[in-house]
């Protein structure tokens, strides 16, 4: 198989303005992946499937990842003009001062595709697609028109992560019921408070059970008063 750099070059030659980015995997597996742009992802996918040399005809796995907002703390050296009295004379002096800056990198939802080629017996090629944010702009292009095997897995990700796949032929919940409002695999999912009976609770469950008991006791006291 071509290396990931060669695949990137081939994509950029075939799809102008594809804007593909390599995301390195520093672990020993060294499974580097390609980050696609939302606008050109469908054309890139079409190319990867139909190209005679790459021929990625088999989509084996689709999954979702939830990346929360990340707070990044940096130390920056800044030049500042400070008024100082040197030898009894007030002067404007330039000084370099250390400053810590915090910035928040907005979170996003990600879809990961694993591609193989049955014809050429190579793979996997890992593709990533990211939404603009986690709340209201969660659309991604669907790969179902290109690989049919994406259909159920994209429905599952829609169900559990809330990524909306545009161009999907039948985007409905698949595991949870119609009318369910949450996305249980998101990191900020809060499960319903059904910890009334936890006879062997420990760790996080014990904490939730205690909170539940406290809430029940407070409600009873409130009713009595």
């Amino acid at each position: 198989m071509k290396t990931i750099e060669e695949i990137k070059a081939a994509i950029e030659a075939a799809v102008p303005g594809a804007g593909v980015e390599i995301i390195n995997n520093p672990s020993p597996s060294a499974q580097h992946s390609l980050l696609l742009q939302r606008e050109t992802a469908l054309a890139v996918a079409q190319f990867l499937r139909d190209d005679a040399e790459l021929a990625f005809d088999y989509l084996s796995n689709v999954t979702g990842v939830d990346w929360l907002d990340k707070e990044i703390v940096e130390k920056v050296k800044v030049k500042k003009t400070v008024t100082k009295t040197v030898d009894g004379v007030e002067q404007q002096v330039e000084e370099t001062v250390d400053e810590t800056r915090k910035r928040v990198e907005p979170g996003y939802l990600e879809t990961v595709y694993h591609l193989y080629s049955m014809a050429k017996k190579h793979g996997p090629l890992i593709l990533r697609l990211r939404t603009a944010n986690r709340t209201d702009q969660v659309e991604l292009p669907s790969f179902t028109p290109i690989w049919r095997s994406a259909e159920f897995q994209e429905r599952e990700i829609f169900d559990l992560y809330g990524i909306v796949y545009t161009g999907h032929p039948d985007l409905r919940r698949i595991l949870m019921w119609e009318g369910f409002k949450d996305h249980p695999m998101r990191k900020d999912y809060v499960e319903p408070d059904d910890f009334e009976y936890e006879p062997t609770a420990h760790d996080a469950v014990a904490k939730r059970a205690q909170e539940h008991q406290a809430k029940v006791a407070a409600a009873q006291n409130g009713g009595a008063a």
Partner: protein, 204 residues
């Protein structure tokens, strides 16, 4: 109205067979408990093994698995009850004719088991319907299911047809219809039937 055991034996020696209507009635019921042909998860495989030649549930009069709840007496909850499936399980139970019994088979059916803290798993079917016998195990061995079945037979045998403790179907005020939970926006509504399952106290 029970017959004195010793008197019964003595009369049996003389060739006189004595019984009561209650004993006959319960003997008939416990010897032909027909389970419902219904499995939920991996425990169902053990349930199937129990009915096959090696363990042979037919020895206890339960060989006929009925595919319709209308003809079944026993519901074996064999496996994980997901919140998506729970309303259907309660509905099937409602459709069974009285007298009817429930065996909760395996860790999942009695408490949610290894999936208890999952977002989609009911923490035990006894939150919605009355369960007669609980079997622990993951999955329980066929012997455990046979044991549960014998326990159920003993329970049927001990039921008196009159008086305070008579079974639900002989009590005109007995409530036979159990509310089917709705699938709400975040969870099943209500999360449990408090008449069937008042949350047990945990003493720590």
């Amino acid at each position: 109205m029970a017959v004195d055991e010793n008197l019964k034996i003595e009369m049996g020696k003389q060739g006189v067979f004595v019984t009561t209507l209650q004993e006959l009635y319960n003997w008939g019921r416990r010897s032909s408990v027909w389970p419902m042909n219904f499995g939920l998860a991996c425990c169902a495989i053990e349930m199937i093994a129990t009915t096959m030649a090696r363990y042979d549930l037919a020895r206890f009069g339960a060989e006929v698995f009925r595919p319709s709840p209308r003809q079944a007496d026993l519901m074996i909850i064999s496996g994980t009850v997901t919140k998506k499936m729970a309303p259907q399980v309660v509905r099937l139970y409602n459709q069974m004719g009285e007298p009817r019994y429930v065996i909760a088979m395996g860790a999942c059916a009695i408490s949610g088991g290894p999936f208890k803290q999952g977002y989609n798993v009911l923490k035990g079917i006894d939150r919605y319907i009355p369960v007669d016998v609980h079997i622990p195990g993951c999955p329980p061995r066929p012997e455990a299911l046979l044991d549960a079945f014998i326990t159920l037979q003993k329970k049927i045998d001990a039921q008196s047809l009159t008086g305070e403790n008579r079974p639900r179907h002989l009590n005109p005020e007995g409530q036979g219809e159990f509310p089917v939970p709705e699938q709400g926006e975040h969870d099943l509504e209500p999360p449990s039937n408090t008449l069937v399952w008042p949350a047990p106290m945990v003493i720590r």
